[in-house]
Symmetry: C2
Subunit: 590 residues, 2 copies
């Protein structure tokens, strides 16, 4: 049957994805993907985001899925279209982002014989997806319809949890490519699909998560009872329930919490008495870092962004317990014990076990903790003083101003390379609930604009993105989504005309080839990029202008670009000036 | 040893690649790739092209390698950077383009443990590369130096031929990442590298190609002796020696040659008496296509672009001989015999065997051939008349004007989707030597700007690119290379604000979702894109302006963008008007 009814399984797949909880589909136009595209368009339960570039579509979907904390689908036609998804799929895999990747393909008999737009899409994303399924060519049979519904549920469940990540389904379609119109009404019943009324009220899929038994935390609780010099290190993680549990555990133990902004522990309504936010600056102070040896380190989330923190942890052998339910993220081989639990579960379990004993935060490690807190307080005030005395715009100071300007509930998305590092160094702990996002799965500078815009598409509160010029340029076409989908975001473009991070690396010692290979200045006036995509563009001449521009942008709809110009050499000197000031303030503390 | 001398094998690899014939390296900045980047920069024999976006770098390298018909290398750092190469690698694989893909990686001990910018790069391009090598972590030992030289030669030889295609070498590097400076002088000897003087004069690698024996062509020659109604179909291929051999074979047999522009047979100094250039238009005429049944079809190159031609070939069972040395490119299963030979070799072999017999083109199939030639002549003149009578700009007519304007030796690069089809329909056979290029491996609309600019970087004569607006937008960042590498090209941007090809497809019959899913208008003023990248931009109001703008651009250095605005609906009507006129002229010919 070629009347379109052969796409009944495809319609069932679409319907079942939506019933499982899918709400957004990102796609790029193509012919082979017509059945899925039209069926998604016909489905009342799903919102479509059209893109031109599949790479941007993939990252947009990734940002939306991260922000919404649930699977988002991304769809493309056959050929290199699918290949363009790879960067976002890789990021989703390592960043644990639930992505349902749907690629249309020629049917098996059209492959390997020179058919146009036909490549080898079978397992094209290799080991960078959690699950791959080769979908049968659709035929209107009860078996294939039931199978399609099973595939959709599995795809959703596997993407959603254990850990979240990308799944890939490859859909071979034969011409003709037009499915029956409006298949999601009475037509369902006649096609043998179970009508919705017969279903019970339960969700069609409930994703799960591995967790150890409560008893298996007992040895850790025992160790913690005795520990006097302990630290809690919170790396990037996105569970909104983690912060509260972690700070209660810290209070019970009296341990300082070194909180990467991306851990969601640095800012929020939870108590922050023990939260250390300036470690990246003061752990560079040799006198302090050398003297402060921890006995026990509890590590939650991915490895922290801060290099001084990682080096500090590596130099002091200690009982290090790494809580990570799925991945094995211990690049410096510091974990004495790896516990397959997430932060919230582990913290609650430990609190429960510690309640059974007599340990109390007041008794444990008071002096140790006081020293961390005073180093932190000194550092924060010295940073403030140094920035106040600084002339002109300094990249790091962007985050100090944003800390004052972002309203409660706002999201701050940061690009990789310098912005994520400056965020860590300069963004203070706040009682305001803020969410921090970055693509820290593979730390690429690609797809950042699209990811942030994708996040803004599903978030209610304001979103600001801080991104460097090379990263901005890498995903230039991603700006197309801004007007196309009537998005609202504030893009702060830190333009130091090239790769700022290299000036901090040993490569800077090779001046002969430095600018050609590493500095790579592009000399572009990004005002024209804003005009191309119909966005407002302002360049901040000083912090007053910057603050006014950010404030205005955060208060109104639409995507604005606010440029902060910087010089790569000056930027290194300014960072070093801050670190020297911090060193003078902290080194005699010990 | 961490003084940089550990990179002696890396230096040897770079040196050996250059000795094998490598002349260009495209790269994007990164830290992990520092050893290779610095060593390439130090080598006097290689030209570096820096890019920001690895996807653009990959396609730029692909274009350069296609144009130069020899391997070009492309280099990136670890992480998603490598993933961004996939689209160009896929195109290189199916398009048989010699690409040497070099990815820097973390060393094995840093993988799978949460190290930053560390993904699974082993065989990341799957089966879309001809060869993959995991390079050892460099150490300064004679064994590793010799091995590195062997790797480089193999990489070059495998990329260069049999068929040409992409190879991938993954380079794990440990910190520190700085190699010794200036390793390509006296330093070589001291590192135990064989000094150049000891080498003989022979090239270090001689790529080969499979070919059948002369005797194995004998049955084909026998068949051809008897054939009266024969056709030679030339699909996309890039061997500059093929055209001359094919036209001599055709003359000997008296067979018409249906020559796709991308076959390089439609235009050139070779005789074109039997070249048919308007088949795409007149094979749409049912009366002609139904009546003209060939006995024998000789097929060279990839499947032709023209759908009417492919449909015509599929409707008439005939003895079809497909000459294709490597791939199996027969999507309609028409080949009676697949001969593993390239066009030039096969034609020469058949000519030799036919010389031994008495067959002569004068005798064979005269009427058959006359009919093809007169259908072709009528079609060409009807097309000219129809276009002359047409108001305003018509996408297809771009190619008629370019046929008059392109100087001898020029290259015409066309985008996929509509431009490659309009080229086929409207570009006439010419005695002027012109080269035609397109990314016809996977027919993607991605990377077209970068590929064309990469080609322009290694070609001496002028290059024009005809590209649609979606394809142009898909590779917007590719324009960065234009000023950065002081390139010269004429970009003709056919702007119909969306995906023009879909208006020709059955999807156009679903108006409800058509514009959202397929038409996808973007509504951009590309003048701003030109300004962003410092390029000139002119919009042609009529053909006089267009011709003046193209002429001027072809005569001067720099990259110019010339926009031809079009309307997608009108474009379909204009095409149909041409086909109707052709039908009226040709249908009574039979």
């Amino acid at each position: 049957m070629n009347d379109g009814s052969q796409y009944a399984p495809t319609a069932a797949f679409v319907d079942e994805l939506v019933r499982a909880g899918l709400k957004e589909v990102c796609f790029a136009p193509g012919s082979r993907s017509t059945p899925l595209a039209l069926l998604f368009a016909e489905h009342p339960g799903v919102r479509l985001f059209s893109h031109i570039d599949e790479r941007s579509a993939g990252f947009f979907a990734l940002g939306a899925a991260k922000a919404a904390r649930r699977p988002v689908a991304v769809l493309c036609t056959s050929g290199t279209a699918a290949a363009n998804f790879l960067p976002s799929v890789v990021e989703a895999y390592f960043g644990q982002v639930p992505l349902i990747v749907l690629t249309a393909d020629r049917p098996p008999e059209a492959r390997g014989i020179g058919s146009p737009q036909t490549i080898d899409q079978l397992k094209i994303f290799g080991d960078h997806v959690k699950w791959y399924a080769e979908v049968p060519v659709p035929e209107n049979t009860p078996e294939l319809i039931a199978h399609a519904r099973a595939l959709a549920r599995q795809a959703f469940a596997l993407a959603a949890g254990g850990p979240p990540g990308p799944v890939h389904l490859n859909f071979p379609f034969r011409e003709p490519l037009l499915p029956q119109e409006a298949p999601f009404s009475a037509a369902q019943e006649s096609q043998g699909l179970p009508p919705k009324e017969q279903d019970c009220e339960l969700p069609s899929v409930v994703p799960g998560q591995v967790q150890p038994s409560l008893a298996s935390f007992r040895p850790i609780a025992k160790l913690l009872e005795r520990a006097r010099r302990g630290l809690i290190v919170c790396g990037p993680q996105d569970d909104p329930d983690a912060a509260d549990a972690i700070v209660r555990l810290a209070a019970r133990l009296g341990f300082p919490i070194l909180a990467d902004p991306l851990s969601q522990v640095r800012c929020g309504t939870h108590t922050k008495e023990l939260v250390i936010d300036a470690y990246d600056a003061f752990l560079r102070v040799e006198e302090f870092a050398a003297a402060q040896a921890p006995e026990v380190v509890l590590r939650f989330g991915a490895p922290p962004t801060s290099k001084p923190l990682n080096q500090y942890l590596a130099r002091h052998p200690s009982a290090t317990i790494l809580f990570d339910p799925y991945h094995w993220r211990d690049p410096f081989h510091l974990a004495s014990s790896v516990v397959r639990a997430d932060a919230a579960t582990a913290s609650e379990a430990l609190l429960k076990l510690l309640d059974e004993t007599s340990v109390s935060g007041e008794a444990a490690g008071c002096e140790w903790t006081r020293l961390w807190l005073s180093a932190n307080a000194r550092t924060r005030s010295v940073i403030d003083e140094t920035l106040a005395a600084m002339d002109g715009l300094f990249e790091g100071e962007v985050f100090v101003h944003l800390a004052e300007l972002l309203p409660p509930g706002a999201t701050l998305f940061v690009g990789n390379s310098m912005p994520v590092r400056d965020l860590d160094t300069f963004f203070p702990a706040l009682d305001r609930p803020l969410r921090f996002m970055a693509n820290r799965g593979a730390n690429g500078i690609d797809g950042v604009v699209s990811s942030a815009l994708g996040a803004s598409a599903v978030l209610e509160a304001p979103l600001a993105l801080v991104v460097g010029d090379l990263s901005f340029l890498h995903d230039l076409g991603g700006l197309l989504a801004a007007q196309r989908h009537r998005l609202t975001a504030t893009i702060i473009l830190i333009n130091n005309d090239g790769g700022g991070i290299f000036s901090f690396l040993p490569q800077a010692g090779r001046p002969k080839h430095f600018e050609e290979l590493f500095g790579t200045p592009v000399g572009l006036d990004f005002r024209h990029a804003a005009r191309l995509f119909g966005l407002s563009f302002t360049a901040a001449a000083d912090w007053n202008e910057f603050r006014a521009q950010v404030k205005e942008s955060l208060a109104r709809p639409g995507v604005d670009i606010i440029e902060v110009k910087s010089d790569r050499r000056t930027n290194v000197e300014q960072h070093r000036a801050v670190w020297q000031a911090v060193s003078r303030a902290v080194r005699d503390l010990v």
